[in-house]
Symmetry: C2
């Protein structure tokens, strides 16, 4: 029961983009360094985030990546679900047709309650708030090897 | 971020054993039917639970499996951790040496909080309580094909 590496990276990338002035575009290479995400993995993560309309990929020489929507409207849950799909702590906890044991299995209610608790924490954590906490202190420390 | 099948099965097996009168031994075949766990998977689950000293395997003709400790002292968290290892929602959330980003990564606190919330729900769910909820209603319905 562990977050995927892709979702972990995606959250870091989103927080980093949210620390930048609105409209700023950041190259993939700079994002990899700033968010400490392996370059070979980053492309896939950016693709998923773009497909979920959380970021925009701008082409051309002044291209790069920027947030597609205000960071205030994005929660950690949104980012995690964009990468992993709807939160589902156990196979029986689903909005679709559940498992046949729901009627008597007492563990079912525990999984539901655990998922709700987890979901609530991730939903309350807005990317904008986290970006403010991350703050300038880290951004000033980022050293881009090519600068 | 999903519970492993083994942990899901282990919780069902423990709940079922807790519904039985103290000291009752149940064969692997009967447990597979009652807890609706695939037989080929059950052996591994029982082995893990026995190694964690949550159940006892009795040999011989009157052998079978029984709880090793009172169900009141076992939580869903105990069972899940016996199978999956200590709860660790993200690789950075650990009791050992954490990741190098802890100092500035604002997501770290979110993962910690989410893990605490999840852990609390699973800790509060005692196997004895769940066995009481599962109750006779299901047990009466179990049909063992060989009886």
């Amino acid at each position: 029961m562990q977050l995927t590496r892709a979702a972990d990276y995606a959250v870091r990338v989103m927080i980093h983009l949210a620390t930048l002035p609105v409209g700023t575009r950041m190259s993939r290479a700079n994002l990899a360094v700033a968010a400490e995400v392996p370059t070979h993995f980053l492309s896939k993560v950016l693709q998923v985030l773009a497909r979920a309309r959380l970021i925009v990929a701008h082409r051309g020489t002044s291209g790069g990546f920027s947030l597609a929507v205000p960071a205030e409207t994005i929660s950690v849950l949104t980012v995690v679900e964009a990468v992993e799909g709807p939160l589902q702590l156990n196979v029986c906890v689903t909005n679709g047709p559940g498992c046949g044991r729901q009627g008597w299995c007492p563990a079912h209610m525990v999984w539901l309650e655990a998922q709700a608790a987890l979901s609530q924490v991730l939903k309350n954590a807005s990317i904008a708030k986290l970006a403010n906490q991350s703050g300038a202190s880290h951004q000033e420390k980022v050293v881009y090897p090519w600068n």
